[in-house]
């Protein structure tokens, strides 16, 4: 049945920011009624029309891999998590607008996903000394989403949004701020929906339409245990 091509997008962020609610909203257009702790990784699928409205319109499956956990967890958890970071085509970084630490931790999350070969040992990157060079040759499209917008007081909104704008610039990514319990933020035609659509289009483009020689950009297969590589078995 899956005659469509597939694309894999990671959804990363601290626990409690609302990744599960976000993924549910994106894939099922409904608000998640009873969010609970995510153990391991939960996946959901969104059917996306690439280049909607144009003659080249094509439908793709976008797999959203919601990886749970905290960025400062035990190294055994990190090693297990790393198995989900194989051949990723796009990353959505989720943070909580009411919790500054969750946005600071996004740097560590992105490093963990990008540098999968190095076992992350608490590399603390603070706002000021963030090293953009590490992202200079990064080819994976990023999107920054801030949740719980409704819980920010009107007065503090500007300050928070400015800070987030800097954050998104650091990642060279678009940013969306919304409230996962209210579907109107992603209503068709709104600027958020357009940004989202553009992001998914970019991911699909990078995966299927831009070829560098004969190599499709993405992650090279990780070499583990000094020997064989892990084959990805797909059931199509």
């Amino acid at each position: 049945m899956a005659s469509l091509d597939r694309v894999k997008v990671l959804v990363l962020g601290d626990s409690g920011v609302g990744k599960s609610s976000l993924v549910h909203l994106l894939c099922q257009n409904q608000v998640l009624g009873n969010p609970s702790w995510t153990v391991g990784c939960s996946v959901d699928v969104r059917v996306h029309d690439y280049k909607e409205g144009t003659p080249e319109e094509k439908t793709f499956y976008i797999e959203l891999w919601d990886v749970g956990g905290s960025v400062g967890g035990a190294s055994s958890v990190k090693s297990t998590r790393a198995v989900f970071f194989n051949s990723v085509n796009g990353i959505i970084l989720v943070h909580d607008l009411t919790n500054k630490k969750s946005s600071q931790n996004l740097y560590r999350w992105s490093l963990e996903a990008v540098n999968r070969d190095l076992v992350p040992s608490g590399v603390l990157v603070t706002n000021g000394d963030y090293d953009r060079e590490q992202f200079a040759d990064n080819q994976i499209p990023l999107l920054v989403i801030g949740t719980k917008l409704d819980q920010i007081h009107e007065a503090k909104r500007n300050e928070v949004l400015t800070r987030i704008a800097f954050l998104a610039e650091d990642f060279n990514a678009e940013e969306i701020n919304l409230d996962c319990t209210n579907p109107r933020y992603l209503a068709a035609g709104s600027s958020n929906a357009v940004k989202l659509s553009r992001f998914f289009d970019k991911v699909i483009e990078k995966r299927y339409f831009i070829r560098d020689g004969n190599q499709i950009p993405g992650f090279p297969e990780r070499k583990r245990f000094g020997g064989g590589t892990l084959k990805n078995l797909h059931y199509d």
Binding site: M1, A2, R6, D14, S15, G16, C27, Q28, W37, V39, G40, C41, S42, V43, D44, V45, R46, V47, Y61, E63, W65, S70, V71, G72, A74, S75, S76, V77, S79, T80, V83, F84, D96, T98, N99, K100, K101, N105, R224, F225, L230, N232, L233, H234, Y235, D236
Partner: protein
């Protein structure tokens, strides 16, 4: 530091010194809270941080007063005054403030009761007080001559809870420590085991994805046909759905159930993989120098653990309570049997200082580490405030009971102040209670660890 006309009054000087130290402890508690406990969360309610640091500061002051007692620092009247003062404050915190705030924060997270938060938190606090009071009934902890509203009533109950906690932690720790240190118990985990599990995990994820694709596509087709809700509505709707099968529509509920089962499986596989990685790391660690050292310590601790269990059983069976403390007994042995003569008074003071100091430091450190582990394991961004306050309550009760029990490790002349300040509690009861709970906790931990150890390797043994 003020040293002026007030230096005639010893209590004033003592207060200055003690309050400086308290500020220092408060700062330490504050930093610990910020750097360790709440390092991934944002502190929004500073009340919580203040309460935690205050509880920590006053608990540490109690220990500091014991040390002062042994070393003979400050005059005994000022020490007594500060003891009483500190005790009152700590009881106030543990019985009134912290439970009230716990109730308040619990009520705050429930949206329904938001309006009358104060009312409901008072209600919760009264319920807590009722059960707290009832706690004293089944235990023979008070002599009848104590009035209803005396410090002894509160201390005795706090003591029961705290001693239970101490014995539980102590029993589990005594068994768990050699189990984790010794490499004898480490299961043999090879790289292939991990690879196999990971492959299964990814396969399961792929199966989940393919099923979800079917659901998503089916839902999209139905949506495009105009049936937003794919449930049959009304009599004709039901007939229609039975007789016709629209192309692309399948029994979505069945697929959804399969997905739920697969998701549960993926969670289990994930947890097992984490376990295997942790074991592999421990195996690698045990080959290092530090690992070998800890392995050796593990053997030593297992002997110590067996001895403690044995002693606890003897104490209970023969109903005996030690009268002399280890320091005096040790000195007696050296003087009488080994014939070494030395200044008993001088040495007993120093040795008990060192011994009591070690006990205090290790119990504080051990408790803080355990609390941190618990906190990381069970807290989430919503419940972090409540959990931290619960931990502060546990910490306070734990420290108060340690003072109760530490009395046994000190020579007679230093015990008097604790006996005076705490009133005439039945100290023997507490020691007996500690032994009973310690025994129960240690034996059940052994049983639990044995079962867990047995069951695990059968799951993923490479044939």
């Amino acid at each position: 530091m003020l040293v002026g006309p007030s230096d005639q009054n010893p209590i004033c000087i003592a207060s200055v010194i003690v309050s400086h130290l308290q500020v220092f402890f408060f700062g330490f508690g504050w930093l610990f809270f910020m750097r360790q406990l709440f390092k991934d969360y944002e502190v929004r309610q500073y009340v919580v941080q203040v309460i935690f640091s205050v509880t920590f500061a006053f608990s540490c002051t109690m220990f500091e007063l014991i040390i002062f007692e042994i070393l003979g620092v400050l005059s005994s009247s000022s020490r007594y005054f500060h003891w009483k003062l500190n005790l009152c404050v700590i009881l106030l915190i543990l019985v009134f403030m912290v439970p009230f705030y716990i109730g308040y924060f619990i009520v705050s997270t429930i949206r329904l009761l938001h309006r009358q938060r104060l009312l409901f938190s008072c209600g919760l606090w009264l319920t807590f007080m009722y059960f707290f009071w009832k706690l004293g009934d089944p235990f023979p902890i008070l002599s009848p001559k104590h009035g209803i509203l005396s410090i002894e009533q509160l201390i005795s109950r706090v003591g029961v809870i705290g001693v239970t906690l101490m014995a539980l932690l102590s029993g589990f720790g005594a068994v768990n420590c050699p189990y984790t240190y010794m490499s004898y118990f480490l299961r043999n985990v090879t790289d292939t085991d991990i690879l196999v599990l990971e492959r299964r995990l990814l396969q399961t994820m792929d199966m989940i994805i393919s099923k979800k694709k079917r659901i998503a596509m089916a839902r999209r087709n139905l949506f495009q046909k105009g049936d937003v809700n794919n449930k049959p509505s009304g009599f004709w709707g039901m007939i229609k759905s039975v007789t016709t099968s629209a192309p692309g529509s399948e029994n979505l509920t069945l697929i959804q159930q399969e997905v739920d089962a697969l998701e549960e499986l993926s969670r289990q596989l994930f947890l097992e993989t984490v376990d295997l990685y942790a074991t592999k790391e421990r195996i690698e660690y045990s080959k290092t120098f530090k690992g070998k050292y800890f392995n050796f310590l593990g053997y030593f601790f297992s002997i110590y653990c067996v001895w403690k269990i044995f002693m606890a059983t003897i104490n209970i069976v023969f109903d005996r309570v030690g009268k002399t403390d280890p320091v005096t007994r040790g000195i007696e042995i050296t003087v009488n049997y080994l014939g070494i003569q030395f200044d008993v008074k001088f040495w007993s003071q120093h040795i008990s200082f060192i011994l009591v100091g070690i006990i205090i430091v290790t119990s504080i450190r051990g408790l803080l580490i355990t609390l941190t582990k618990f906190f990381y394991a069970i807290s989430s961004s919503k419940s972090s405030n409540v959990i931290v306050l619960l931990l502060a309550q546990i910490m306070g009760m734990y420290f108060v009971s340690s003072v109760l029990l530490i009395r046994m490790s000190m020579p007679l002349e230093y015990r008097t102040i604790i006996t005076e300040v705490l009133g005439e509690l039945q100290f023997n009861f507490y020691h007996r209670w500690f032994d009973v709970i310690f025994l129960v906790s240690a034996l059940s931990s052994i049983l639990f660890l044995y079962l867990a150890h047995k069951q695990a390797p059968e799951k993923h043994m490479t044939p």
